[in-house]
Symmetry: D2
């Protein structure tokens, strides 16, 4: 079966894709939370590696020319986020909306708006 | 406006939450891809930090007792994934489905199924 | 010229090895602190990757059987530490001794001694 | 006893400082290689965090003004490198010199010298 999705896909639908993939390979047995979080960090590091020694215009050009690699790394990161949320019985959509609310309180518009100084020192 | 969502929310809907949050604070100006990828790594590291020096049953218990912290870190990671995908004009849903297809070829069921050895050395 | 060293080598001597290596290739021009710190994280991640999906006795056996890989990753991490310290005009030996003193105050023996609970929650 | 050291201190001397610190607290029991490598990544991430959202001249100024924080993070990273090398019976000085030799072969001066393109694509 082909897996199709767009940004209109729900977290539940995307989770199903990666859960089915895992189930078919019987890999859940290896997925303890520590190795999952470790894997998430490693995939995030692979994304960061694309930026290593590249800056400004050169980086922009590189990322455009290598869009599929960026897409793959972001997809890998998302995969671990979805698997961890599933295994730890976390409703990721709810958690996400709640965290945004929390951040709204932490960074009130009137104080946070605009300058880099405010951004890093709030 | 309150932000509500569940796992039935789409990537597009969740992206809107974090994009609105950013827009209200005028923070897009700071969001170059390098600092975003760096931030993604740092948030993933914060998740990993919850696992530091904890293993087995003790870790399981800790994660259950501290579920909101895990949720917050996963949400933060997801936030950067969504922002990066948006800014780099990546359709994350499509990218995700395509990466799963790629992984299916890379790890064919008949070869990948089951043992840890196969899992790490395929 | 061959580069020889043992654990009796000083930080200054080891720094010279990697500084000479860099100088011969004229690479200092690329070494801004951000990309250096990023590189340090990436090398640390490569070391961590050796541990991915491996635990307990299996991990121990793997690390023994793959000692040269562990050595290479630790060496790469050390290389970035030495280069960063040099470029930022940090006396790493002094900084290290001072940080140990700081940690002694932060984790006094009578409070820190022994249990995992104390270790993670001090 | 005060711990003094400079860059003329040997790896063996610096290792002794952190080994004594650990021994006095009876913490070796927690130091499995996986949690050590994980801790190394986390300390490297703390160093990287100092660079987050800061670039160019602003970053330079920040690092100068916050030199003790940079020193502390580099010291923490070095601490884990020394402990891991010790526990895995690695002669870090030898490993370091050997890795430099390896890199000399991997990046021969005539090919590697100078341009960023060569640097990232060798």
């Amino acid at each position: 079966m082909k897996t199709n999705a767009t940004n209109r896909a729900s977290l539940a639908e995307l989770s199903k894709l990666v859960l089915d993939f895992r189930h078919e390979r019987d890999w859940k047995q290896f997925h303890n939370p520590k190795d999952q979080a470790l894997s998430l960090v490693l995939e995030a590091a692979e994304l960061l590696e694309l930026m290593q020694w590249r800056n400004g215009r050169e980086l922009e050009k590189f990322l455009k020319a290598n869009k599929p690699r960026v897409e793959d790394e972001l997809a890998d990161v998302l995969g671990w986020v979805l698997l961890m949320a599933h295994d730890l019985k976390i409703n990721l959509g709810e958690a996400f909306a709640r965290k945004i609310e929390l951040n709204k309180k932490k960074y009130p518009v009137e104080k946070a708006r605009g300058s880099a100084r405010k951004y890093t020192e709030l």
